[in-house]
């Protein structure tokens, strides 16, 4: 008779479902509003065919992020270390990994392409959210029409896989316009207007109906301009970082830059596994970021995600192996 013990490897698909339940539970317990993005839910909405997810994306309001991260750390997660200054500046999410799961969690506190006030568009997403039961736990997800806009913006800003993104956009537009998904064209256009994404999602919306994109209705125009610069630069870290600094404002932008160049000991400790937080490690980590920062500004932002996922998977495999070595794996 086997004993009750954790440590058995679980598949990435199962991990996604369990991580969604963990994120929803942790957020609710901490009083944080968290929306589960993408993943198998999109297939249920008919927005794409089934495919494997490589991480769990969670969207939380910026001013609730800190509470969410603290609660997730208590649940065994640690920040995935960012490679360098530019990745930090370009990032709109915090990566979290646990040795118990083969996937990482991306806690997003911003969503590029939603051009209005962050608190306003999050409130809109939250107000219109729907509930989906995942692994027996009720999870909040954006409504089907809001999900369409988020999917479209995600594809529009990822030119590193330009052809795939274009195919994905075409497929999404086809599903909406043919009525084969849970969102109608009118609902999607209304969502784009509410979320201030008529301009940024214009290329997608134009595939749904003529004359929809109306960027002049959106304020401020600077955001739309920066979005277009970002896309034109091919998603390179430098462009994304500049967009973020510009949107942050001069004072906070300087603080952001200073923190990226010279992160605090607490920031670094949060990014490192518990067994690698010595003084020498902190100094080495700062130096590594500075050196890497010189060369990676021209790289594309998307690569960070795959590196995080690989690290999370390696951590998971090590965790399973350790449990097995102790004879604990069931």
């Amino acid at each position: 008779m086997e004993t009750v013990s954790p440590g058995s490897a679980i598949s990435p698909d199962d991990a996604w479902l369990l991580l969604s339940a963990v994120a929803a539970h942790v957020a609710e317990t901490a009083g944080v509003r968290a929306l589960i993005l993408k993943g198998p839910v999109l297939s249920e909405f008919g927005l794409r065919s089934e495919r494997q997810s490589y991480d769990l994306d969670v969207l939380v309001p910026r001013d609730e992020l800190s509470d969410f991260l603290v609660a997730m750390r208590k649940a065994g997660f640690h920040n995935t270390d960012s490679d360098d200054i530019w990745h930090d500046l370009a990032s709109h999410s915090v990566g979290l990994a646990s040795a118990a799961f083969p996937l990482s969690v991306d806690a997003h506190y911003d969503f590029p392409g939603l051009l209005g006030d962050q608190a306003e568009w999050f409130d809109s997403l939250w107000r219109d959210r729907v509930f989906v039961e995942v692994a027996g736990v009720s999870c909040s997800v954006p409504s089907p029409s809001d999900s369409v806009i988020l999917m479209a913006l995600h594809d529009l800003r990822t030119p590193v896989t330009h052809r795939l993104a274009s195919d994905s956009l075409r497929d999404l537009a086809s599903r909406v316009s043919s009525g084969s998904c849970a969102a109608t064209t009118d609902e999607v256009i209304a969502s784009a207007a509410r979320l201030r994404a008529l301009g940024s999602a214009g290329r997608f919306l134009a595939q749904l109906a003529e004359g929809v994109a109306a960027p002049h209705l959106e304020v401020p125009r600077t955001r739309l301009f920066l979005w277009r610069v970002r896309v034109a630069l091919g998603g390179r870290l430098l462009g994304v970082a500049l967009e973020r600094i510009a949107l942050t404002g001069p004072r906070r932008g300087v603080l952001l830059l200073a923190r990226a160049v010279w992160p605090s000991a607490d920031d670094i400790r949060g990014a490192l596994p518990p067994n690698a937080r010595g003084t020498g490690t902190l100094a080495g980590y700062r130096l590594m970021r500075l050196v890497r920062g010189v060369t990676t500004g021209g790289r594309k932002a998307r690569r960070q995600r795959s590196a995080d996922t690989i690290r999370a998977r390696q951590g998971h495999e090590r965790g399973v192996l350790r449990a097995g070595e102790r004879g604990e794996a069931s």
Partner: protein, 103 residues
């Protein structure tokens, strides 16, 4: 009478179940995977069967010696209780309180 605790995340498959003890996520951060005998016992913990009933059913299903099955079931249930994955309504005053012993 024992029953599965509420608040668990669970993925139920035809021959296995994956559980995560969300109410205790700070102490129990890894999922539990029950297959084979542990799955057979888990599926019978439904709030209507006693430990004795579960043993009876497994003896009938597998034809193994009753003493051996009774011992295994008891050990397994005691561990589930300790972890808070099940609740013994006869021994617990309230939801989620794990009793150290079951009959």
């Amino acid at each position: 009478m024992v029953r599965q605790a509420s608040g668990l995340a669970r993925l139920e498959r035809p021959a296995s179940v994956v559980l995560l003890n969300l109410p205790c996520i700070e102490e129990q951060q890894s999922p539990y995977v029950f297959e084979g005998p542990s799955f057979e016992i888990w599926t019978r913990i439904d709030g209507t069967r006693t430990e004795e009933h579960i043993v009876d059913e497994l003896v009938e299903a597998y034809g193994a010696p009753r003493e051996q099955i009774a011992h295994d079931v008891h050990e397994f249930l005691a561990e589930l209780l300790r972890l808070g994955l099940i609740v013994d309504d006869d021994e617990s005053d309230g939801e989620g309180e794990a009793a150290p012993h079951i009959d």
